[in-house]
């Protein structure tokens, strides 16, 4: 149990290092391709003009923002039920990234809103629910750091992630709640309502973001793991006791 809970990170590191190239390279290449098609090889929209290109950042980041929170909720559930430390760790590693994507979505969105709707911000259901999602991310991060005992913060944050995940469907269906300015989903499983010249870069960018997230997640997890380990050993040293991790290995 101790072994599992405080396993030394070596094995995970090895796995991460092996995976890294398969994530980093595709991320870079897809990004490049997506940007090329998006910026040069796709037509400006007949009514939105060049601003339509914002979409190639906006939509993928929106999708990531929602997806990452779901992932965090799942990871937290795993962590709480099977008490596997890597689960909590991954959720914590993902949170800031997800918050970043959410911010990107909000930012590009309002950049887009100025020309399209003539205002940076409208209290549209979808916009606001994304804003809420952003707050949930920040709440998660704040809660994780709010405790003197890191272990406690980790579990509390995990529960919050579970509870908060109810918001994600709200974002999805929010479009039906109020009179909404915002685009209805045109990217459905069944129908595709966009021209392929727009769809291609959109998909490329979405994929690029996905791989990018994977790579960053691994890096952050490694960092967090090392940080935790350093803390544990420093404290053990201070108290003249062996660190739990060492203990487990010995």
């Amino acid at each position: 149990m101790i072994l599992q809970q405080y396993a030394n990170p070596a094995r995970f590191n090895r796995l991460a290092d092996r995976l890294m190239p398969y994530l980093a390279w595709p991320a870079g290449l897809l990004m490049a391709a997506g940007l090329y098609f998006g910026l040069f090889d796709s037509p400006p929209d007949y009514q939105q003009g060049e601003t339509v290109r914002i979409m190639y950042i906006h939509v993928p980041s929106a999708i990531m923002a929602e997806g990452i929170f779901v992932l965090m909720a799942v990871a937290s559930a795993v962590g709480l039920i099977w008490r596997h430390p890597l689960a909590h760790l991954s959720a914590q590693a993902a949170a800031p990234v997800g918050a970043g994507f959410t911010f990107l979505c909000l930012f590009t969105g309002s950049l887009w809103g100025k020309p399209m709707w003539g205002t940076w911000w409208v209290w549209d259901a979808r916009l606001t629910s994304v804003l809420i999602l952003f707050f949930l991310y920040l709440g998660y991060i704040a809660l994780k750091d709010a405790f003197d005992d890191p272990a406690r913060g980790e579990k509390a944050a995990a529960i919050l992630a579970l509870v908060g995940s109810v918001n994600v469907p709200i974002i999805k269906f929010s479009v039906d709640w109020w009179n909404t300015l915002h685009q209805p989903p045109s990217l459905g499983v069944t129908k595709v309502a966009i021209h392929s010249s727009i769809l291609l870069p959109l998909l490329l960018m979405a994929a690029a973001f996905g791989f990018y997230f994977g790579a960053i997640l691994l890096i952050r997890m490694k960092a967090l793991m090392l940080a935790r380990r350093a803390r544990g050993m420093a404290m053990a040293q201070a108290a003249g006791r062996p660190a739990a991790g060492q203990e487990a290995r010995g």
């Binding site: 809420i132 707050f135 003197d148 579990k155 509390a156 529960i159 579970l162 908060g164 918001n167 709200i170």
Partner: protein, 221 residues
């Protein structure tokens, strides 16, 4: 008398000794609402337009303040340990706490809501929906509050953090609560909104005690 009832009675007894507390919450409710005319200026049309929303928002904020005392005192003086060690499932204990909290905070807020509505000059035919939505919404607040309170137990800056966590979760209540009143004023159907709120209440009844109990256990580890 079973454990659930005992805990509810204990809570009510304590609240009774500290009757000031509920009063204070209500006063805050009213006072916060009173601030708006100051900030916005007294145009009646705008105020009455804002009535429904303001009542709900300020009710939310008042509730927010009350949540912090839900577990913190028991946590600090060790009562919470004892409650957790009592031969009663912690989930029931939480439910009892939520019940007591609603009786001592939700009900008074409900009672005070019409007063504010009057101050803001809300149209007559909104009151029915106001009370109905309050009756359905305040218990949800109490329940979600227990989760937030349990999560932030022992955290630094407990109060604000709690608000930060709970507000996003209670926004649906706010939306449909206010919407139902607007609907009533606008002469539209109120039932669908209220039904949705009823659904939330059921969901909260199932999920919140579980989540709160789980995080209480974490807090006591």
């Amino acid at each position: 008398m079973n454990g659930f009832a005992r805990i509810v009675r204990r809570e009510l007894g304590l609240a009774l000794r500290q009757a000031g507390d509920s009063v204070v919450i209500v006063l805050f409710f009213v006072l916060a609402a009173v601030l708006f005319p100051f900030g916005i200026g007294p145009e009646p049309n705008i105020l009455s337009r804002m009535a429904a929303g303001t009542v709900w928002v300020t009710a939310l904020l008042a509730a927010m303040l009350s949540f912090e005392r839900l577990f913190v005192p028991d946590y600090e003086d060790g009562s919470l340990e004892q409650l957790a060690l009592a031969p009663i499932p912690l989930e029931f204990t939480v439910l009892a706490k939520a019940t007591a909290h609603w009786l001592t905070t939700g009900l008074p807020l409900m009672a005070a809501a019409p007063v504010i509505a009057v101050m803001f000059g809300m149209p007559e035919h909104g009151y029915g929906a106001l009370m109905a939505s309050m009756a359905l919404g305040t218990p949800v607040l109490s329940l979600i509050g227990t989760v937030g309170a349990a999560l932030t137990l022992g955290a630094r800056r407990g109060g604000v953090l709690l608000a930060l966590l709970v507000l996003p979760l209670v926004i649906p209540v706010l939306i449909f609560g206010a919407a139902s009143i607007e609907a009533a004023i606008g002469g539209l159907a109120v039932a669908p909104h209220l039904l949705l709120m009823g659904g939330m209440l059921l969901a909260a009844l199932v999920l919140c005690p579980w989540a709160a109990a789980a995080s209480l256990r974490q807090a006591l580890e």
